[in-house]
Symmetry: C2
Subunit: 360 residues, 2 copies
DNA sequence: CTGAAAGCGCTTACAG
DNA sequence: CTGAAAGCGCTTACAG
């Protein structure tokens, strides 16, 4: 008997603490509807009332209960970040593995686009072959109001399935015809680096592209070619090759092929930092010095190029800004689901580090 | 008039779709309380009833509304991942910047510990100096049921403040006296790499430690010293120095000091991959070849060492497992808030790549 | 072992 | 411009 009683009065921390909309209403001498309208920034509220309520909120340290809000408004106030990966197994960190750096750096920018917003972010790494028919948990469990899909590792089938869910979605890092998208200006980026190499007196250029299967490889190649076409001084020789894999090992093998075919570039451009590091590994083994013997410019800018030996000049694609702008796009899509599809291309800049030398 | 009508019947997707607990109850011919008990795995339900309900759930494709659950149970079913960072400004990726790789890799392991669980994950990068008195948004907005704090960039003040919030918390990556924690076995790891260098015939060892201000630097040094003490063959010379900064630039400057003091190790140990890359940069500039002239072993294992030129042998600290185990600890803490404080140390292994040579 | 009822903390028409 | 009331979809004592 006594014991039962004891259990009954054992309140939890939250029970005691929880300030609700009713407490605020009471303190401000208004109804809870009014408080709700203030919280949701209704223009129908008299300024005087608004401030009265705001003060009460402040004084009481009131924080709206997110579950209650969500329950009535049928929203979760959460956005999903889907990182597309090659596989979900244990990472080896070896240079034949995917780096996932792009998605991490982009996702650092996302919260910046969410400031002054109630949205939280739920992350999921997702791999299509392994999950085959499954949808991401984020979606299956109805946890999100909107979705970022980061990276290119998905096809039309997957896109359609997501589309059918009706969740506002923005694709980050590549073009596509299903959703809004935002991506770096690939062609302009490669144009930039190629031009710089030409202007610094390089005569034998080699472009090591990403795999042909990647839709982006065309844009990249175009940037390379257009820079050469529009340059005053023409290179004596130029080569272009697609790596077989989009990682260090892919770059390693590609330059090896070039090298063993007897080609000797004085400057190399890489499709991204991972491939670049693979190239550098091969050159190191051949005792070729960068930049003394061969200059290099990579593409993306990441911890990989910033920390590499030597520090790698690269094209910065402004990943944080991409993440931030992706938010704006998604927020608009959520607010106006039927609006016209949006595509956004972010310009790039060249970052100079230690892998390019001026040749006369 | 007509228009008003049109608006009224414009249901949203969810309105039409939403299968609720009532639909399930009806289909299974039970009350919604029973359905709820089944969902929550109550042992009080007859097996037969349970299967009946489970079938109805299956057939209807019912997914519990997470907000409704949270509202009644006073839970959010979300865990927070707090990544402690040095600053929140735009990342440069240069080698004088913090890499945040540890927290990323750990957070990849976390979902593995959450399989068969309803918990989602909310991430936040948080910086103490910049946010001074503020608490992480995750906490201020009552969004989480539990918290992972990743990384060491916080002091007792912050820990106490978090403690006062009463949120179950586990610290990942360093010891501390406020919360449960899980970390790699630093001493054992350094012992491992030092021993390997000794066994491969190196006579002049240099340990480049993390900054003295880091609590972990002592454990690391102990591992180094103990390996030497317990080795059959003693090194001819040994040096140990703390980098001033925990990044590439710190490693660069440290080895520069060693070098300019005329010391010439034949093997170097680095406190982590970032510091290691800084060391390698300096050696590259000095035209010292790794491993031919100097062998190196780093600590952590990350994309940085896996992609480095040459590929860096390092101590793998099993970050994914750390993340997974951290979940178990946190889940236990949530279930039993008053239980004894838990600390867990994960053993490390040596991963051999291309930076160590056998000397005779 | 299961059902009826209250209540979690909000938002949203609706009325005035 | 503001209040009273209904309802969102669950869980949790409580009763039987």
């Amino acid at each position: 008997m006594l014991k039962t009683h004891a259990i009954k009065i054992q309140f939890r921390f939250e029970d005691i603490m929880a300030v609700t909309i009713i407490d605020v209403a009471r303190r401000a001498n208004v109804s809870k509807s009014t408080v709700s309208l203030v919280i949701n920034n209704s223009p129908a509220i008299k300024l005087e009332t608004k401030y009265k309520v705001l003060r009460a909120i402040e004084e009481l340290g009131y924080v709206p209960n997110i579950n209650a809000r969500g329950l009535t408004s049928r929203k979760t106030n959460i956005l999903g970040v889907l990182t597309m990966v090659e596989n979900l197994s244990q990472k080896s960190y070896n240079f034949d593995s995917d780096t996932e750096i792009f998605s991490y750096d982009v996702s650092i920018g996302i919260p910046k686009g969410l400031v002054n917003t109630d949205f939280g972010l739920l992350n999921e790494r997702f791999c299509i072959p392994e999950n085959s028919n499954d949808l991401p948990l984020l979606i299956k469990n109805n946890r999100i109001d909107g979705l970022f899909i980061i990276g290119g590792l998905f096809g039309d089938d997957f896109a359609k399935k997501i589309k059918d869910c009706g969740i506002p979605t923005v694709v980050v890092g590549r073009k596509n015809e299903f959703f809004d998208y935002i991506t770096a200006d690939l062609e302009q980026g490669v144009f930039l680096s190629t031009t710089h190499l030409l202007e610094t007196g390089h005569k034998k250029l080699c472009y090591i592209n990403c795999p042909v299967t990647f839709s982006t490889s065309v844009d990249r190649y175009n940037g390379f070619q257009k820079a050469i076409d529009s340059s005053e001084v023409k290179p004596e020789e130029k080569w272009s090759i697609n790596a077989e894999h989009n990682n260090g090992a892919g770059g390693y093998q590609a330059i090896k092929d070039i090298w063993e075919a007897g080609k000797r570039p004085d400057a190399i451009l890489a499709a991204n930092d991972s491939i670049a590091l693979g190239i550098m590994r091969y050159l190191y083994e051949q005792k070729v010095r960068i930049p003394e013997d061969i200059s290099m410019i990579s593409y993306e800018n990441s911890i990989l190029s910033g920390y590499s030996v030597p520090a790698l000049s690269t094209v910065d694609i402004n990943k944080e800004l991409i993440g931030e702008e992706a938010c704006r796009i998604l927020l608009n899509r959520i607010a106006r689901p039927k609006s016209k599809r949006v595509s956004m291309v972010i310009p790039t800049t060249l970052v100079h580090r230690d892998s390019v030398i001026v040749r006369s």
